[in-house]
């Protein structure tokens, strides 16, 4: 009898769901609205004067956990500013092994490499999945995602003590009782915890503590 009643309840649930709108998104025809930070594929940017931002500093090539970025560059005189700087000879990014960790975007000091908001088109051969320099510059026309090196770094920088203290109101911790025995480290947000030794705080490639 229990089987019967519970079965009827289950039948009721499915009947209820017939009335709900289908949630399926028919992908190629309808494209789901992507969030601002949605990230896939890559693009290389040029600056306002139409000059390539990338100077071939190898930061992204070094940080990439999958080691899929390869580049070579030469130093030339810039036609715009007249200063000597690096120019890319070649740049490839192998999407077959990319894990979309966004580290290359984060480390780029010139905001040259950014990620796209639209996915990479599937290819028929593996070569289609390798982003060459030309493809990367073409991709710059497509909608870009929110993040670039500067913004990501800004977001992660430990807050400067003075302005942070002024801006941040201290919200009450949640209503839940706090176990008395447990020490609460750094309950106040104000003095930003800077465990990094002071010497490293300013240096650009942060050399952290070496015991």
């Amino acid at each position: 009898m229990g089987y019967l009643l519970d079965s009827i309840r289950a039948l009721g649930v499915t009947a209820k769901n017939i009335g709900r709108k289908p949630v399926t998104v028919q992908f190629p025809k309808v494209i789901r609205e992507r969030q601002e930070r949605y990230r896939t594929s890559f693009a290389l940017l040029k600056d306002e004067q139409g000059e390539e931002r990338c100077v071939g500093c190898l930061a992204c090539e070094r940080i990439c956990p999958s080691q899929i970025i390869h580049m070579s560059s030469t130093k030339k005189e810039s036609p715009v500013t007249g200063k000597k700087r690096g120019y890319l000879d070649d740049f490839t990014l192998d999407m077959t092994a990319c894990i979309f960790c966004e580290l290359c975007v984060q480390v780029c000091p010139f905001d040259a490499i950014v990620m796209l908001k639209v996915p990479h088109e599937p290819g028929y051969v593996r070569e289609d999945l390798v982003l060459t320099m030309a493809k990367l510059y073409e991709n710059a026309e497509k909608p870009l995602t929110w993040g670039n090196g500067t913004k990501l770094m800004e977001m992660q920088e430990p807050p400067k003590p003075a302005p942070a203290q002024a801006a941040a109101p201290v919200p009450a911790p949640a209503a839940a009782p706090v176990p008395a025995a447990v020490p609460v480290p750094a309950a106040a947000p104000a003095p930003a915890p800077v465990p990094v030794p002071a010497s490293a705080a300013a240096a650009e490639p942060a050399k952290t503590e070496a015991p």
Partner: protein
């Protein structure tokens, strides 16, 4: 010769209609299941995906035939063919209306039950011949389940026979036109008999919650594991036809067949409506419930369904003797 001709024509007609109905029954099920799960279902091939069965057929026909190593080729080839044959043969005696009946046998109900019981042999053959352990377990489960649930199926149909005093399916309908549908009358036991018949039907046609022979989460795909192409298609179609015919028979025995308030084409439409409603409800149940374990299935059958249906038979005999005489 005339009888033969009539048989051929009606047989051809029934196969065509039944297969077509089954094909779009599958479409209906897929649409229904999709909506139950907040999906859209087939909508690419044709308007509302109505040509999906055709596309499926084309796909199945193009597929490679694969024989597993060590398979018993004779049985492997024969099984899907027999499944579909037996399923369709059952339909020969189903009265779709007062006129539309292939063979109005005296023993129509017996014929239906006999052929339904026969389904187990090709299913077992398919499981045995595949030379696959999952298929073999599926086949053995199918045999055990089919034999067990055959008992309540026969007993609940016997309730109808005792009430109506005839084994002819059209006779049963005619009795119901006079006295009222057996599912509603006599009040109480009639509904119980119908529910038991329905459950046994679910089990006989291997539908959730009694689909342990296929049990794709345990046995990969049960008896159909090694089948490809149109042979798989035939096994699949056989199951659907079985369900469709079973729904039609349930409609005939318990829901008054072609009986209904308005009569167009001598009540054929009522039969179609009832059959499709029962068919859809089988799939509603299928997409809503979880599955029993095989031993629970047996316990449910022998400890609950069989005694209750035996009691119903006794009740029917008493009712017939004291009330209906």
């Amino acid at each position: 010769m005339q009888g033969l001709l009539r048989g051929l024509v009606y047989g051809g007609l029934i196969i065509t209609v039944l297969m077509t109905a089954t094909a779009w029954g599958m479409w209906l099920e897929r649409k229904l299941a999709a909506r139950m799960q907040s999906r859209i279902g087939p909508n690419v091939v044709g308007k509302f995906g109505l040509l999906q069965p055709v596309a499926d057929l084309m796909k199945l026909l193009q597929k490679e035939e694969i024989y597993p190593i060590g398979a018993d080729r004779l049985l492997f080839d024969l099984a899907p063919f027999l499944v579909t044959t037996f399923a369709i043969a059952t339909a020969a005696v189903v009265p779709f209306s007062a006129e539309a009946v292939g063979a109005d046998l005296d023993v129509g109900l017996l014929w239906v039950l006999a052929l339904g019981g026969l389904m187990v042999i090709p299913v077992w053959m398919a499981g045995w011949a595949s030379n696959n352990k999952f298929a073999l377990i599926g086949g053995m489960r199918a045999v055990a389940q089919s034999i067990s649930y055959g008992v309540p199926l026969v007993l609940t149909s016997l309730v109808a026979v005792v009430f109506t005093g005839t084994m002819s399916l059209s006779g049963i309908v005619k009795f119901q036109i006079e006295h009222g549908w057996l599912a509603l009358w006599p009040p109480g036991p009639g509904v119980v008999a119908f529910v038991l018949f329905y459950m046994a039907l679910l089990a006989e046609s291997n539908r959730i919650p009694f689909d342990i022979p296929e049990a794709e989460s345990e046995l990969v795909a049960g008896i159909t594991t090694e089948y490809t192409g149109m042979k798989f298609g035939l096994l699949y179609v056989g199951e659907y036809v079985h369900t469709m015919v079973g729904s039609a028979i349930a409609a005939v025995i318990f829901l008054g067949g072609w009986d209904g308030p308005f009569h167009i084409a001598s009540g054929l439409h009522w039969m179609v409506i009832k059959t499709v409603a029962l068919f859809a409800s089988v799939y509603w149940v299928r997409w809503s419930l979880l599955r029993f374990r095989s031993d629970q299935l047996m316990r449910l059958c022998w400890l609950y369904l069989v005694p209750v249906s035996l009691g119903l038979v006794v009740f029917a005999a008493l009712w017939r003797h004291f009330v209906l005489r």
